[in-house]
Point group: C2
């Protein structure tokens, strides 16, 4: 799929976003299988995990892909020839300058800064630090369904003027955007970003993760995020296999993705949960963070979607998530 003259670039986030489900405790074998499939398929970018400071996150409480250390990434790559650019995501305030070597000493070549709009100045500073170290930098603006256009336009202009990022990504963290919202946001991003491209990261709470990604590309987004079988926290993401099937770009090969699903993801899906599940649909339709649905899914009331909906929509019950109290 080419929109105008420029080719759409695909970012696989399977391990990074999937790790939000299991605290990044994926085995090396799983990560290597994902990497090999993504690399063989010709995907442009792969986000292999988060990078975070071990001072802020005790390593004994998280799997290796919370940190994605350079040496660990090298163990995964082994002797494989890279077709895909590898990178990591960072959160504002969860990483320090010394956590990054200069890019020419690292197997990584890009870093995406995840930020809320309120922290955009911090995101700009962090993105600039990353650019100075020689990495391609990106900014992902999370929880986009909760911000107003006026503040968003200001933030985008700041990024456009004060950074060298390659793209700024619309992140539908709550999975609550419809087609018209996506078109509006991509157009708002485009009109405030003269020198940067627009990306899109969907979630599947309303079964629109894939559909909204196609809408974003049609509206002019040039980067899009996807994960294998949609793996990701809560309802998950735009499935990579659907995106490749729709894009019909001859540079992509879908078969390695089917192979890693058959060989690895069928088992993963028995161990951890993601996808269209009613409590996540309900947080999506209500434009709420999925955390209350995640809590519900860990409780004995995990399947009680009607009770959950009533709790979330009954004002006096907002503190009583996950069925911890009755009487609502």
């Amino acid at each position: 799929m080419k929109m105008g003259k420029e080719e759409v670039l695909v970012v696989d986030c399977s391990v990074r976003d999937g790790g939000l489900i299991n605290k990044w405790y994926f085995s090396d074998e799983v990560v290597r299988n994902v990497f090999k499939a993504v690399n063989s398929s010709g995907i442009d970018y792969m986000e292999i995990g988060y990078r975070a400071s071990e001072k802020m996150f005790p390593p004994e409480e998280y799997g290796p892909w919370r940190f994605s250390k350079d040496d660990k990434v090298r163990e995964i790559i082994g002797e494989t020839t890279l077709n895909t650019k590898l990178g990591v995501m960072v959160d504002i305030g969860r990483v320090e300058p010394e956590d990054f070597l200069p890019a020419d000493e690292s197997p990584l070549c890009f870093v995406r800064v995840a930020t809320y709009l309120k922290d955009i100045e911090k995101a700009v500073a962090l993105a600039n630090l990353i650019s100075e170290k020689g990495y391609e930098a990106f900014i992902n603006i999370m929880a986009i369904s909760t911000v107003n256009d006026f503040d968003l336009a200001k933030g985008l202009k700041l990024i456009d003027e004060e950074t060298d990022v390659k793209a700024v990504t619309v992140v539908d963290s709550f999975g609550s955007l419809y087609e018209d919202n996506v078109v509006h946001l991509v157009e708002l991003f485009k009109s405030n970003l003269n020198k940067k491209k627009v990306g899109f990261h969907g979630h599947n709470n309303l079964q629109l993760g894939f559909a909204n990604t196609l809408v974003a590309l049609k509206a002019g987004a040039l980067f899009c995020d996807a994960t294998i079988t949609g793996i990701g926290r809560g309802a998950g993401n735009c499935p990579l296999e659907l995106l490749l099937s729709a894009m019909k770009n001859p540079k992509f090969n879908i078969e390695p993705i089917f192979q890693v699903i058959q060989g690895t993801f069928n088992d993963l899906a028995k161990q951890i949960e993601w996808g269209y599940i009613l409590p996540y649909m309900i947080t999506g339709m209500l434009n709420e963070h999925p955390r209350v649905a995640i809590a519900l899914r860990s409780s004995p009331q995990r399947d009680n979607c009607a009770d959950f909906y009533r709790q979330l929509t009954t004002p006096e019950c907002v503190e009583d998530m996950a069925g911890k109290k009755s009487g609502c």
Copy 2:
């Protein structure tokens, strides 16, 4: 959601389409729970099953909703006041005139004729028989992704001129339509149907069942089909809860739908399978009938999506579905 002056009408097909999974062996309790939820939610139409001739389908081999006899429907309704119109679907050549009493002697008020385009003359005759008996008649054109526009336009004109049906429905049986296909088909239907409305029935093979339904409504469809949690053969359908949430029509109440999911569908989902499952994604992307994927899901190779894709896309292996032979 109102498109222009006319209101969109919703058809629940949970029992009818869901019955394709389990040969319509739903208990009376399940069907009554679905009926009560749909009726309380203010859904416009509910297709409670198929109507078929017992001469052609041995009753001992099918559940009751293959036949949906008038007395059986009355048992489900009981003393409930009807907000929702009840009806059935019929297949060409699988029902006889004597299988329908005059509408004023039946609890049903509509009948939908499911047809392939090649049988459109038969569908017209059957729809006219149904209209003459006093029912609202509809025609659903199945496997729409396999027909050419020229033949389709001829068929639509025939329906427009020679029947009294209320709507003609675009049925994406293979779940392979994208947005542009949906817009094209709805426009083709509209331009060839001067006196009838257009309907849309999506399938979820590409996670577009709901998104395509919204596209169809935007393009001018005025009837749309949905099922609770998307229950239906293979990848299933547009989920009713998503549609109600998006439509925001005050006449609909979503809570009874959440209640029947919590009370009935969570258990059903443990007994029978539907939804976004890779073999159905693959038949959707290849514009194939889901029957080969259904066969695969009953075999020991049920999760081998990569092998399945290779078989379907390797010419000499087209007869070797469901892993019955190796060597492809």
